[in-house]
């Protein structure tokens, strides 16, 4: 059981929660995630940990409302509780001094890459961050990202803010101007991570991507999160979520993310039809 301490709207459809989860807060490292289940009938969904304040027992999550579960989550208010909150899960990001490190994030990937960028900065890296959004209204975490980066580039697809274009355009320019990053971190939509990997492959820049397949248990038990990396099967929840982006089969991941599209649509419709009826449940005592 985990109580929502604070709720904020970062941009349309993007919400930030501070949660009371001392066990998770104490152990979480950049790059790790949590799994949550809102109530007795809920599904288990993974969300990247966007920040922690271990001294207060606080864990921050930021999420984009897409399907039924994230919308329902978004309707919860400060003071309410999430039934199950499990973490930290997955292997932490590999943080060391790479010289120059580039953090590339798209959309809601920005809050997710923030703790990584901060840790890289603390480890002595020169941090260049590229954060991309569809348009100005969706720009989030700019100030925070600026505070942990030596250089911050904001892009929008429609040019309504920052530089017009995709994050990969900015990344290509960096590489063209002679930057030699020791490591590139990519977090965001699969297609974006795939394109980042293509950019850096030619330049031979080591790149990691944080994969976001469907998960259930996230303890390595069910195998739904399997991804092909370097021709081998890996479980993103326990072997990842970060992998060598040049080895990842992104097309397979894109296909596998589509498996429940019809059911996701149906779940959303079902929920919207029955909206207003409260189904809060909460009998199983949990930890965290």
């Amino acid at each position: 059981m985990s109580r929502i301490l604070k709720k904020e709207l970062l941009a349309p459809g993007i919400k930030r929660f501070e949660l009371d989860a001392p066990d998770v807060a104490r152990k979480a490292r950049p790059g790790q995630f949590v799994v949550l289940r809102i109530h007795e009938r809920g599904e288990r969904i993974p969300l990247t940990i966007a920040d922690t304040r271990p001294e207060d027992g606080v864990v921050v999550i930021v999420f984009l409302e897409v399907g039924k579960t994230t919308r329902e989550l978004g309707e919860l208010e400060a003071g309410q509780e999430i039934m199950d909150f499990i973490g930290p899960l997955g292997r932490p990001s590999e943080i060391e001094n790479f010289g120059t490190a580039v953090c590339v994030a798209g959309g809601v990937g920005t809050p997710e890459i923030y703790p990584v960028a901060r840790a890289l900065k603390q480890a002595g890296n020169r941090v260049i961050a590229i954060i991309g959004f569809r348009s100005q209204a969706l720009v989030t975490m700019e100030t925070e990202m600026r505070s942990v980066s030596d250089e911050l580039i904001v892009t929008t697809d429609d040019g309504s803010y920052g530089r017009k274009g995709f994050v990969t355009d900015a990344l290509n320019e960096l590489l063209a101007r002679g930057e030699k990053p020791g490591r590139v971190f990519a977090v965001g939509p699969v297609i974006m991570m795939k394109m980042v990997a293509e950019c850096t492959r030619a330049a031979g820049v080591p790149t990691v991507a944080s994969l976001n397949p469907i998960m259930v248990d996230a303890t390595g038990m069910c195998g739904v999160c399997r991804c092909t990396v370097g021709g081998e099967m890996k479980l993103a929840c326990v072997d990842g979520p970060e992998f060598d982006a040049h080895q990842v089969d992104f097309d397979e991941l894109l296909t596998r993310l589509k498996v429940y599209l019809p059911e996701e649509k149906r779940a959303l419709e079902h929920w919207q039809e029955g909206h207003g009826t409260c189904r809060c449940a909460g009998k199983e005592a949990g930890n965290g």
Partner: protein, 472 residues
């Protein structure tokens, strides 16, 4: 004593045609009269061989004798001395190779239906408004952490409580029970029964902490700062795949995923419950164990028109319990024996559309004594499918070994213990169940829990720790 009837008292069941489409439990259980009739078949042997067949040595003639005489509370008291999960064991133990296989009647006729009687007495108790509590020794003030709330962990918890120790059980999932809740389906082991047995252990005094992944949320080394002993019962949780081309196509599940979605997450009630599952029309399940039977029967209940089991040996070699194979056959599961998949064929959208297989024939016996299947050249054929469930086994969950320096593991990834005590190579840490043996049975996990609990008690009393593996 009168001569026993040659056949056992049958247990009433749901009709196969009806039950194949619902998730309700298949057998209905005995009435007290049926139970008494069956109990009277027991000869009350002076040297009961059945007890040797039971990994936790339930006093079988003792509890059956009490049922025969109508002393049902006594029967339950006898049972709980050795087995705290009788409603579960009575339903899922492979009795035909254990207690019932050793019953003297088995030589000439049907053995006493020990499992059915065990189930009866546990269910009878549940219908009363009170229950037999375990006798507890005075509190010792010592603290035991149990990792994993499966049968092994729950047994350790129950036993350590009886010894007077304080027990906290840490479970990674949101519900306790291990395979009993996420793996074995409702129609074979109703979740309310698991809940009841878990509640019994909670009422005896165990603290149950769910949503706590040891190794991630806290390591064993950290637990040892707060607890005097730790028991690892984390099970065999990592699914094997066939490692064939096309295995990541849409519609291909591990049995763990398929069953977890359906059982733990209640996907069969989607969209009332949020977790989806593919409701395939033509489902192939690869494997021949209990897990395969459970998957294929779940597929039927999710609406499959055809549910097919693909197994590379013949019926005789199938490791599943006889009762499960029989139930599967009755429900109309199609068996493709001596058949081995070689690849998956996917359509343009990435969905599996066929399982390509080879026919096999039985050759020389292998190390396990079973005749080894060898492929018949040129026998490739395709089974059209829209869903495949891979149920060929699991390896131990690596999370704890990976995060616990000094804990010795075998090449197979199982935790190495001294079988007589359950001690690992790390001081104060014990282990048992599937994490030690690889995927096995509920009762073996409970037996291992019993052994570990006894030696935990001894360790807490004496403080003696001898490293069974000779390394430190």
């Amino acid at each position: 004593m009168a001569k026993p009837a040659p056949t056992r008292t049958p247990m009433r069941e749901q009709d196969p045609g009806v039950r194949a489409r619902n998730f309700d439990e298949v057998p209905h259980g005995y009435s007290p009269e049926e139970a008494a009739a069956e109990a009277q078949r027991c000869l009350r042997c002076k040297k009961p061989t059945c007890v040797n067949g039971c990994p936790v040595e339930v006093d079988i003639p003792g509890f059956i004798g009490a049922i025969a005489e109508g002393r049902l509370w006594d029967a339950m008291t006898v049972m709980k001395r050795t087995n705290v999960l009788p409603a579960i064991c009575g339903r899922v133990c492979p009795q035909e190779t254990q207690c019932e296989g050793e019953c003297v009647l088995a030589k000439k006729m049907e053995p006493v239906a020990i499992g059915n009687l065990e189930r009866f007495i546990a269910d009878w108790e549940a219908e009363q408004n009170e229950c037999v509590m375990c006798e507890k020794l005075p509190p010792t003030g010592r603290k035991v952490a149990v990792i994993g709330a499966g049968p092994a962990g729950l047994t350790v918890a129950g036993d350590c409580l009886k010894f007077g120790h304080e027990v906290t059980v840490f479970e990674a999932l949101h519900a306790p029970g291990g395979v009993l809740v996420y793996g074995i389906p409702e129609f074979r082991l109703p979740k309310s029964i698991v809940e009841r047995e878990v509640n019994f252990i909670r009422d005896t005094g165990a603290k149950l902490v769910t949503n706590f992944v040891v190794g991630m949320t806290r390591t064993i080394a950290e637990l040892l700062e707060d607890f005097d002993a730790v028991f690892v019962g984390t099970g065999a949780g990592r699914p094997w795949f066939m490692e064939l081309p096309g295995e990541n196509a849409l519609g291909i599940y591990s049995a763990n995923e398929y069953l977890t979605r359906s059982n733990l997450m209640k996907a069969y009630l989607f969209p009332e419950y949020d977790t989806p599952i593919v409701r395939g029309k033509r489902v192939a399940t690869i494997g021949g164990g209990n897990v395969a039977m459970d998957s294929a029967r779940t597929a039927l209940r999710l609406g499959a028109e055809e549910s097919i089991i693909v197994y590379r040996r013949s019926r005789q070699e199938m490791p599943a319990r006889e009762a499960e194979i029989h139930h599967a056959e009755q429900e109309g599961i199609r068996f493709e024996f001596l058949t081995n998949p070689v690849r998956y064929v996917a359509n343009k959208q990435g969905w599996v559309e066929a399982l390509e297989c080879l026919r096999m024939e039985l050759g020389e016996p292998d190390a396990s004594g079973r005749r080894r299947p060898v492929p018949v050249k040129g026998s490739e054929f395709r089974i059209p499918v829209d869903t495949v469930v891979v149920a060929i086994g699991n390896s131990p969950n690596p999370l704890i070994p990976q995060t616990t320096p000094g804990l010795e593991v075998s090449k197979r990834g199982t935790i190495v213990v001294d079988p007589a005590t359950g001690r690992t190579s790390k001081k104060g840490v014990f282990a048992g169940g599937d994490i030690v043996t690889g995927a096995a049975t509920v009762i073996l996990a409970m037996g291992a829990g019993r052994i570990a609990a006894n030696s935990i008690d001894e360790y807490l009393k004496t403080g003696n720790w001898q490293d069974p593996t000779g390394s430190q």
